[in-house]
């Protein structure tokens, strides 16, 4: 795509557009590496408590609705697809397509948050939010251990949800930026980077879904 890069804006610190693109994508990957380790701490906690409190985790996961979780998985995968297509359109400098794909991705993200909201409010209603009001009755299951499941559930999906929100905000900013600079060639780097970020958010969910909704082996 070097023909297109010629007329991109190049930061003062860079020699050329190629160096700029290389640097930004390397930077984004490094950032994602930090994200991996950021979530990693929580995954570690999950592994430990899951292996310790297996029965409680199995019992507690029945409180989650795997169908809603599955729906959200499909939504996020779809949004990943639309995002990938959006990035492609940006590289090919097709303004309308970019706006369309980004819009779809945003809608998916919104849908994801709505489903999350439904799920969360159901948990609050059933006093499944950890804390003094936590209630969990299941023969043979220590409620304290079930609470650990919900601790991790809220911590991990909450953190993931925060990432979805950040992604949505970024998309809004992207669209505004595109609109402001609509006369120019599309600067696809920010879109590409947002795309990488968004796929990462999808990727985290790919792990969260089976860990919480499909503990399995009743």
């Amino acid at each position: 795509m070097s023909t297109h890069e010629g007329d991109l804006h190049v930061g003062h610190q860079f020699e050329d557009a190629e160096q700029q693109l290389d640097s930004y994508s390397a930077g984004m990957w490094l950032f994602l590496v930090t994200e991996v380790l950021f979530f990693g701490g929580l995954f570690l906690a999950y592994i430990i408590y899951r292996t310790r409190y297996t029965e409680a985790f199995v019992a507690a996961h029945h409180e989650l609705d795997w169908q809603l979780g599955g729906l959200n998985t499909v939504i996020l995968i779809t949004s990943s697809l639309t995002m990938a297509l959006g990035v492609r359109a940006a590289v090919l400098n097709r303004m309308k397509a970019v706006l369309g794909w980004l819009g779809l991705t945003f809608l998916c993200a919104g849908g994801f948050m709505v489903v999350k909201y439904i799920e969360y409010s159901a948990k609050f209603e059933h006093n499944l939010f950890p804390g003094p009001n936590f209630e969990f009755h299941h023969a043979g299951i220590d409620p304290g251990q079930a609470q650990m499941f919900f601790n991790l559930y809220f911590a991990m999906t909450g953190l993931h949800g925060a990432h979805v929100l950040i992604g949505m905000i970024t998309m809004i900013i992207l669209v505004i930026r595109l609109w402001v600079m609509r006369k120019q060639r599309i600067d696809f780097i920010p879109i590409e980077l947002t795309g990488l970020y968004w796929h990462f958010v999808d990727l985290v969910w790919i792990f969260l879904f089976p860990l919480f909704y499909l503990v399995g082996g009743n």
């Binding site: 795509m1 994602l32 899951r50 499909v74």
Partner: protein, 119 residues
């Protein structure tokens, strides 16, 4: 790293594969696989299977959606390093939980740790 965007077909195929795999994980969770007790911990084969599928899905996302192969050397090496250190953290910490001394920390002079009653 000026990359050539992939054909939409590649993305659509990836998408389809991801959907199929999602269905597979859901189905796999219906099976009841054995849980292998390991000392005070339990290794649950269900979760092993689920994680294996998730890893395949994650690789698809990384390889095709994030077009990993077009990435520069730096990104590649660092992505691998990140996963590597994550695993280091997991396994070394788990090494503690698998072998915690219980009430009696029996020395090596004895016939192995008492608290571990593996057959």
């Amino acid at each position: 790293m000026s990359f050539e965007p992939a054909k939409p077909k590649v993305y659509l195929l990836t998408f389809a594969a991801l959907l199929v795999l999602t269905v597979i994980t859901v189905l796999a969770a219906k099976l009841t696989l054995p849980k292998i007790p390991m000392g005070i911990l339990i290794l649950d084969l269900n979760i092993v299977l689920a994680m294996a599928i998730a890893c395949v899905k994650a690789s698809l996302v990384v390889l095709y959606f994030m077009h990993f192969k077009d990435m520069g050397q730096v990104s590649k090496v660092w992505a691998v390093a990140g996963v590597f250190f994550l695993l280091v953290m997991f396994f070394m910490t788990l090494g503690d939980y698998e072998n915690r001394p219980s009430e009696e920390t029996v020395g090596w002079t004895e016939s192995g740790p008492l608290h571990d009653a593996r057959p």
